[in-house]
Amino acid sequence: MKVVVDFDLCESNAVCMAIAPEVFEVRDDDFLYVLNEHPGPELHDKVREAVERCPKQAISVVE
């Protein structure tokens, strides 16, 4: 699984960070950083939930 963020759409609502902090981090500069572009299988469910809960539909995964 590869995590792809469309940074033109992302507006740092930080919902993804709440769901999968191992993968997503919104820092004090208000920008989102992807900590792990290739999360292990144990994180896949969380990442998929983050994809669905993103208010901007800015996250996608390539399986």
Partner: protein, 403 residues
């Protein structure tokens, strides 16, 4: 074969359907939507969609519906449910079709409240809820009116005002309350929203209502305010809240009280669950406070929960109560306003300042327990605060963690 009917094909209904398919429901699924469109995302309609002519409507479509195999549903779009007979377990549609069901999800949402003198809104008066509403309003804004008058400084009104300003249009924003967003924010925070709009050139009028729509000919000329003043405008937008869509249930046995009343597991009657803007339930996380939440994130959460709840009801399973910590965001100009939880009788700015429009303000009840946090351009703290509310933390703990 088991049949589940979902009435209401927007965010909550779609999420319910998806959750049921994911949980292994392989029976017949019928999705009834009053609008002719496949389910789409509403938040952009008052924001980017109004500003940017390039917004692709395909991008608005809700993801679970893009691949027809995901929901494998039998769609009834552009069709409205007109009656529910919950004794016989039948939903009747506006074309007379009778849909029998084993399980029913009701997510019929809400519609804009209207001014009595503009019902229905026509000829220069607009409301904003649906994609068709947004198309009409965007076209009116693109025509370059000399002024846009917005009645109501709630989320819709405030976001429309911001979007119209971003198009370079003159805007007057009117609200009968003393501050914008007065139903969800404290007065001081609401006044900060008013200042934000004034600094962006909006003529903000508070504590004054709209007495009439001014028309000399077929088109609107503006608004007449309760203090007698007139706001001349070629476009009038009314955003004065919503009314839950429950009229079609009047012949059912469901309890209606500003929404469909459900128990703490979203069950409104045996085999019937509710979700989204139309649903009212006691939220155990806030002492069983009766809530009806008109928020995007809640529609996702509650829709998914309601789907799973219904399957449990059909096969006799047990579920935990639905006890979310609400969260919403609103984008106005370059500010992102987020509220996690709810406001409380005590409040305190723990980071930044209201003056610099980048701050974290926490709320608590009389005992010092954290009830929520308002964050301006502090998205990370908003999400942290939501978790702190969920964890039942105190204001003292939140002050340390969010500062």
């Amino acid at each position: 074969m088991t049949t589940i009917v979902v009435v209401g094909a927007s965010l909550a209904g779609t999420q319910a359907a998806q959750a049921m398919r994911r949980a292994g429901f392989d029976g017949r699924l019928v999705m009834v939507g009053a609008e002719p469109h496949y389910p789409y995302d509403r938040p952009p309609l008052s924001k980017s969609y109004l500003v940017d002519a390039e917004v692709d409507e395909e991008r608005l479509r809700l993801r679970p519906t893009v691949d027809p195999d995901v929901l494998a549903a039998d769609w009834r779009l552009g069709r409205r449910a007109v009656a529910l007979d919950d004794q016989r377990s039948v939903v009747e549609l506006d074309d007379g079709e009778q849909l029998g069901y084993d399980g029913l999800v009701i997510a019929t949402g809400a519609r804009p409240r209207r001014l009595p003198m503009a019902d229905p809104p026509t000829d220069g008066v607009f409301e904003l809820r649906t994609l068709d509403d947004a198309r009409a309003l965007r076209a009116a804004l693109a025509a370059g009116p000399t002024r846009v008058a917005v009645c109501g400084a709630g989320f819709i009104g405030a976001e429309v005002a911001a979007s119209a300003r971003e198009r370079g249009l003159e805007v007057t924003l009117v609200d009968a309350a003393d501050a914008p967003l007065d139903r969800v924010l404290d007065t001081e925070a609401g006044l900060a929203v008013a200042d934000l709009h004034r600094d962006h050139g909006v003529d903000v009028r508070l504590g004054v209502g709209v007495a009439d729509i001014d028309r000399s000919g077929p088109r609107v000329d503006g608004m007449v305010l309760s203090d007698g003043s007139i706001v001349a405008a070629e476009v009038v937008v009314v955003g004065i809240g919503v009314v839950p869509n429950t009229e079609w249930l009047s012949s059912s046995t469901l309890t209606i009280d500003d929404g469909i009343v459900a128990d703490e597991t979203c069950l409104a009657a045996p085999g019937i669950v509710v979700a989204g803007d139309v649903a009212r339930w006691p939220n155990p996380r806030f002492g069983g406070r009766s809530m009806r939440v008109e928020q995007w994130d809640n529609a996702i959460d509650m829709g998914g929960y309601a789907g799973r709840r219904l399957l449990a009801a059909l096969d006799g399973g047990r579920v935990e109560p639905f006890e979310p910590t609400p969260w919403f965001w609103s984008d106005q100009y370059d500010r992102k306003i987020q509220l996690a939880g709810v406001v409380g009788e005590r409040r305190e700015v723990v980071q930044g300042s209201v003056a610099e429009r980048r701050f974290v303000q926490i709320y608590g009840d009389g005992t010092g327990r954290l009830t929520g946090a308002l964050c301006w351009n502090r998205p990370r703290q908003a999400i942290m605060a939501r978790q702190l509310v969920t964890d039942g933390e105190t204001m003292d703990a939140a002050r340390t963690k969010l500062a």
